[in-house]
């Protein structure tokens, strides 16, 4: 293992220390329990948006804390869900009196820890709703698995929902918007190389020089299928068509019903893409892929979207949801309506994403 680190057990702590020193005008960092929060928190009267997850996906989530995006982010150990005490303390710190929205990626650990945290926060009199992001089309069914993983759409949801919170959306309307973003986003990723969790010291899987792994998540876990390496155009086509041709996807989410005062199951369906759809195209590096390669992917993605009648109205290209030093990429397409486009364009000022502010 070759990494720019001091001690494997200090990686997350020292990363947070560095972030706090680098962006004091945007964020602050609380230690024990660990969370990153807006420098001007709590913002009175605004719903506070909180996310979190294992570390190793930088800039997500800590790098997306700031005006127009997240109010707080709870980083776990590398690839390990954070714990309820982090989420609870973060909620208490940034709560501006209008409630909390937790944006949770669909991994069993994240779901359980955020559920416990939401119950604990409610017990302390804070209104909390959570929305689950599950957009990874590499997972075909939800019957015999945990369901689709939360990947690229998470970044887009955090931007759009963060802008809406800034605009004054109340909690329920904000949760509905976040659900809308999730149901309209789809992603698929691939890896050229594995990655090494610092504390483990060894790569999480092995790939031969001429092999690639298709349908990976963001935790260095093996993917759906291993195959011989192909060209950028062929890989882009494989990923893009898996997304564009994905049929309607149904699943059940457990959400908190405020009227009943309990968790209930709701059925949700993601409609498929169709010609005429306006989309945001997001080409993401898994961390190790150099930026010279991403436009090559985007170039082909643009061509395929044109051919399929999808109009790319916005794009995002770069490393935003990574998997340590893994080489590879993911593509996310998000169907946009006017509300989402306006919120996407709204000012944002965070360490990882900044415009118009």
């Amino acid at each position: 293992m070759k990494k720019l680190i001091n001690k494997p057990e200090d990686v997350v702590k020292e990363e947070l220390e560095g972030l706090a020193l680098a962006y004091p005008d945007m964020i602050k960092v609380h230690f024990d329990p660990n969370f990153v929060y807006r420098a001007d928190a709590p913002v009175k009267g605004k719903v506070a948006v909180i996310s979190g997850g294992g570390s190793g996906h930088e800039p997500m989530h800590g790098g997306f804390v700031g005006m127009g995006m997240l109010d707080a982010a709870c980083p776990g150990q590398v690839f390990t869900s954070p714990t309820p005490d982090q989420m609870l303390e973060a909620a208490k710190t940034v709560h501006g009196g209008a409630g909390i929205l937790y944006i949770v990626k669909n991994y069993s650990g994240d779901i359980m820890n955020f559920e416990m945290a939401a119950d604990m926060a409610r017990a302390e009199g804070i209104r909390v709703l959570s929305v689950i992001i599950d957009d990874d089309v590499a997972v075909k069914d939800s019957l015999y698995t945990q369901g689709r993983r939360g990947v690229g759409t998470t970044v887009l949801a955090e931007k759009i929902v963060g802008a809406a919170a800034e605009k004054g959306y109340e909690l329920k309307r904000l949760a509905a918007l976040c659900t809308k973003v999730n149901l309209n986003g789809r992603s698929m990723g691939m890896a050229l190389t594995p990655c090494t969790v610092p504390m483990a010291g060894k790569p999480t899987f092995q790939l031969a020089e001429d092999e690639m792994e298709i349908g990976i998540g963001i935790h260095g876990e093996p993917g759906r299928e291993r195959m011989k390496l192909k060209t950028a155009d062929e890989i882009t086509e494989m990923l893009a068509l898996s997304i564009i041709d994905d049929p309607p996807y149904r699943r059940t989410h457990r959400i908190f019903d405020e009227e009943k005062g309990e968790w209930v199951d709701v059925d949700l369906e993601s409609p498929p893409f169709k010609p005429g759809d306006k989309v945001l195209a997001f080409v993401n590096s898994m961390g190790g892929t150099p930026l010279i390669e991403l436009p090559i992917i985007y170039r082909k993605l643009h061509e395929i979207c044109n051919k399929k009648g999808l109009k790319i109205v916005r794009n995002l290209i770069g490393p935003y949801i990574t998997s340590l030093e893994m080489q590879g990429c993911s593509i996310t397409l998000l169907r946009m309506d006017e509300e989402m486009i306006e919120l996407w364009d709204a000012p944002v000022r965070t360490p990882g994403l900044r415009w118009k502010a």
Binding site: T80, T145, P222
Partner: protein
């Protein structure tokens, strides 16, 4: 012979050592079908229990196990944190106020723990999880007690059932957690959660054997 609160403390101490010894092994099992952190996380969690050890002085078994559960929830993370944390907290609630307890009480505590895991994880036996080691272990313990086995013998059978349950996860297709994404590729790998659960039962037996000698 009743189980004393001292044995509970001994169990937690020994379990911490056992999980430390098996840190690489559990992480390696998790690399194959998960995200390569189970051994690291369990080690961190039990170290956190040890750091709370001074507060156990004079406390009942229920309070100690609940405190241990809270320590796991707030330090382990992943799925293992809430699941093991809930298990210890539920077991603690079943043993509330007890400074010594019987094997029948232990059955009740383990059943409460299992119920907590199944509720939180929305899981059942046969899905390649820790439940596949724990559920048969509890059944074996109940059977042994019904047949009048002595404590060490009963825990031997419990541990054997946990081990068989753990091994039975090898040919299973994972249906919960990150391993579930692998589908059929999860076949042939032993579940790391079932393995750590087996190690905890084995530790229980070890403490009982020491008591018997």
């Amino acid at each position: 012979m009743p189980i004393t609160v001292e044995k509970v403390k001994e169990f937690l101490q020994r379990a911490t050592e056992v999980l430390k010894e098996n840190r690489e092994y559990l992480t390696e099992l998790d690399s194959a079908i998960g995200d390569a952190d189970h051994g690291i996380n369990m080690d961190r969690g039990f170290q956190a229990i040890m750091s709370r050890f001074p507060t156990f002085e004079g406390k009942d078994a229920g309070t100690i196990l609940k405190t241990a559960g809270m320590a796991l929830v707030s330090t382990v993370g992943g799925a293992g944190g809430p699941l093991y944390g809930t298990a210890f907290m539920q077991a603690g609630m079943a043993l509330q106020g007890k400074y010594e307890f019987t094997l029948e009480d232990l059955v009740k505590a383990l059943e409460a723990a299992l119920k907590g895991i199944m509720n939180l994880g929305k899981s059942k036996p046969g899905e390649k999880t820790m439940i596949d080691a724990i559920a048969p272990a509890i059944e074996a313990l109940k059977k042994a007690l019904a047949n009048g086995a002595d404590p060490v013998k009963a825990l031997e059978e419990t541990t054997r059932a946990a081990e068989e349950g753990m091994k039975a996860t090898i040919p299973m297709i994972a249906q919960k957690g990150r391993a579930s994404y692998l589908g059929e590729r999860s076949i042939g790998h032993q579940d790391p959660g079932a393995t750590s659960s087996y190690l905890l039962f084995r530790t229980m037996l070890e403490i009982a054997q020491k008591q018997g000698s």
